[in-house]
């Protein structure tokens, strides 16, 4: 059997950056400056950085709760407080952890609690749950909550959609000025948008390298290395990080290093990761010589539209053009392009019980893709964070049988 690939060396740098990010937020929250803004993961982070906030992303905390498997222990606390087990398990894990007074940041960085928000800024482009989530903290701390109520299910992103979101961004500014104590500065926004664009260009390149055969990285690597694109975009550190990672991956390609030794099958992951089972799924697929080379989830931090010459409009366009904001016709075209380019023969749809907006199997898309593109498709029932909704044995049998089926069809 070919050797397992060496660990990705850039991970060390990423861990330092993440430690710096969380320790900086902790310090800001304790000292009261800079002010702390909570932001949804595909929300107007650029505007918040430009206003001088330390920006915290609760979805990243939700994913940490999932990956450390604390989520399943704390979700019941949120359920008992009235947050249904059927709603977003990032929300229920995060609120449950807060109510229990625990966080994975303690074990990782010695931080006692999540940073208290001075303002909460949401964008409902992903779902309504983010607003309800932030509203819990707004009530708890009696701090302002503002945000963008996005259009959803878009085919084409039209100028009136963009104009509306631009207007909503601009409406945020008076509150952000009052809370931060800083005047809005268009040039600072341009610079932040420019840095976000630089980050996103590099992140796109990282993802596109997986089109190589064998792929130097898999979806499971991407879910780890996307962290700077999520929480540090708009800052120079993210740009530097992806330069480092790209250099290492270019070397992997030059050396013929495969993320999945003996790669035989190339798959696409559609939907949320199962954060508490990344290792299990990665090992299982790797053993079956199946590489998940692309995913819509990790592509969600590609923002092609950013343009510092027109920061508001380009931000609005970037946050509206995302996959999750679009209609099914667009989504199918998008998946088609990626599977063709990446030489993918099978698509795994993760039906995340508590994340209907990011579970695209529910309106017969797997059947349409199988019929129209001749792909093998599999629906894996589970959840992003709530492992009460995930069966290890069923997942193993499903994935193993899926790869067996692809072997048979390839024979």
């Amino acid at each position: 059997m070919p050797d397992a690939p060496p660990p990705i060396k850039a991970t060390k740098k990423m861990k330092e950056l993440m430690a710096g990010h969380f320790l900086g937020l902790d310090q800001a929250a304790r000292e009261g400056r800079p002010k702390v803004a909570w932001c949804t993961s595909v929300g107007p982070a650029e505007l918040l950085h430009a206003m001088g906030f330390a920006v915290y992303y609760p979805e990243n905390h939700g994913a940490l709760l999932g990956a450390t498997r604390m989520a399943t222990e704390v979700i019941p606390t949120a359920n008992a407080a009235g947050y249904s087990p059927d709603i977003c398990s990032y929300l229920t894990a995060d609120v449950g952890a807060f109510l229990k007074g625990v966080t994975p940041l303690t074990q990782a960085y010695g931080i006692a609690t999540v940073p208290k928000a001075d303002v909460l800024v949401f964008n409902t482009n992903q779902c309504r749950d983010v607003e309800d989530w932030f509203a819990f903290y707004a009530r708890h701390w009696n701090v302002p909550i503002v945000g963008v109520r996005s259009h959803r299910g878009l085919g084409e992103v039209k100028s009136h959609h963009v104009a509306d979101v631009v207007a909503q961004f601009k409406d945020l500014i008076p509150t952000l000025e009052r809370v931060s104590g800083n005047k809005f500065d268009l040039d600072r926004l341009r610079e932040t948008v420019r840095l976000s664009k630089e980050c996103t260009l590099r992140w796109r390149r990282v993802l596109e390298l997986a089109s190589r055969t064998p792929s130097p990285m898999t979806f499971f690597d991407h879910t780890i290395h996307m962290a700077p694109a999520v929480v540090l975009r708009g800052l120079p550190e993210a740009v530097e990080y992806y330069d480092l990672l790209l250099a290492e991956m270019d070397q992997r390609i030059a050396d013929g290093v495969a993320a999945v030794p003996g790669e035989r099958h190339r798959l696409y992951w559609e939907g949320m990761p199962v954060w508490g089972r990344l290792r299990m799924l990665s090992d299982l697929l790797s053993e079956a010589k199946a590489a998940v080379v692309a995913s819509t989830y990790c592509n969600s931090w590609i923002f092609d539209a950013f343009d510092e010459r027109d920061p508001f409009e380009s931000m609005a366009r970037a946050y509206l053009e995302l996959f999750i904001v679009r209609d099914d016709e667009y989504k199918e075209r998008y998946i088609h392009q990626w599977v063709e380019r990446f030489g993918v023969k099978g698509v795994i749809f993760h039906d995340a019980k508590t994340c209907p907006n990011n579970s695209n199997n529910r309106y017969a898309m797997p059947q349409r893709l199988a019929r129209n593109l001749g792909l093998s498709t599999l629906v894996l029932n589970g959840d992003l964070n709530d492992l009460r909704l995930f069966s290890d044995e069923q997942a193993k049998t499903n994935l193993e049988a899926f790869v067996e089926q692809m072997e048979e069809l390839a024979a």
Binding site: A370, S376, T377, V379, N381, L389, S391, E393, Q394, T397, N398, E400, A401, E404, Q405, E408, L409, A411
Partner: protein, 260 residues
């Protein structure tokens, strides 16, 4: 004679099959799985070998499938039960098929093309609705021996309509029907219908239909009801409960065919 064996360690029952080189079943066994998968597998194989009148050293290959497939040291290779049921169904009915396997813990719908390649499959979600476990739970609640359900359903002149998806909700519905005075036979037929509905919700049906698994083996009336529901013939292999074991033994035979 060089023989092959397949062992299917399922959630409820462990099955073993011994085949001759032509794929003919020489011996089979069905045991409760219990908590020791390796022991259950070994015992089932011993029983199947005894029935075949064969010795262990005559086996060229032993393959395993089912939930306990990775816990059986005596098996040289494993396949999923999905591969195994498809292989068995196609062996007995070599044409484009939809295979419906109703197991103790889960259900599967597997599409096979005319060449015997699997095209697609679906497993039920974690919920036990529509599985053998559902019927066991209901038999317990109705204080009925499991083996009496088939003849009761067959005798039914009426059928209780049960609509709930969830096993627990169905049990509540059954209680309501008992209060209303529904005869036992109508209740059991309603439970069979519930299994059929849960299965048919999983996927579309194409080509010839083959049913496998323990529930089908013990309740042939359920197969007749399925045929009525679908308006077409439903095939079952001989000894449908052994289908997984036979299928994985067939795969073992093929894997050990000399290269031509």
């Amino acid at each position: 004679m060089k023989l092959a064996a397949g062992i299917d360690i399922g959630a409820a029952a462990t099955k073993a099959a011994v085949l001759d080189p032509s794929g003919r079943l020489l011996g089979g066994a069905v045991l409760r799985t219990g908590v020791d998968f390796a022991l259950a597998g070994a015992r089932a194989l011993d029983e199947a070998l005894a029935q075949a009148g064969a010795r262990p050293e005559e086996l060229t290959a032993v393959f395993a499938c089912g939930y306990g497939r990775k816990n059986l040291p005596l098996a040289s290779e494993t396949r999923t039960e999905i591969a195994a049921h498809a292989a068995a169904a196609y062996h007995f009915f070599p044409r484009a098929l939809t295979v419906i396997d109703i197991g103790g813990q889960d259900n599967k719908i597997i599409k096979v093309n005319a060449q015997g390649q699997r095209l697609d499959f679906k497993m039920n979600r974690k919920c036990a609705a529509g599985t053998g476990a559902f019927l066991e739970e209901m038999a317990l609640r109705l204080d009925l021996p499991l083996e009496s359900m088939d003849s009761l359903a067959r005798q039914a002149e009426d059928e209780a309509r049960l609509g709930a998806f969830c096993t627990v909700f169905t049990a509540t519905e059954v209680l309501g029907k008992i209060r209303e005075g529904a005869p036992l036979s109508a209740l059991v037929k309603g439970l069979f219908r519930s299994v059929i509905k849960r299965v048919l919700e999983m996927d579309s049906i194409e080509g010839a239909v083959v049913m496998t698994g323990g529930v089908v083996a013990h309740n042939p009336y359920l197969v007749e009801m399925m045929a009525q529901e679908l308006g077409r013939e439903v095939l079952t292999p001989p000894q449908p409960q052994l289908a997984g074991a036979i299928g994985v033994a067939l795969i073992a035979l093929r894997s050990h065919e000399p290269a031509r």
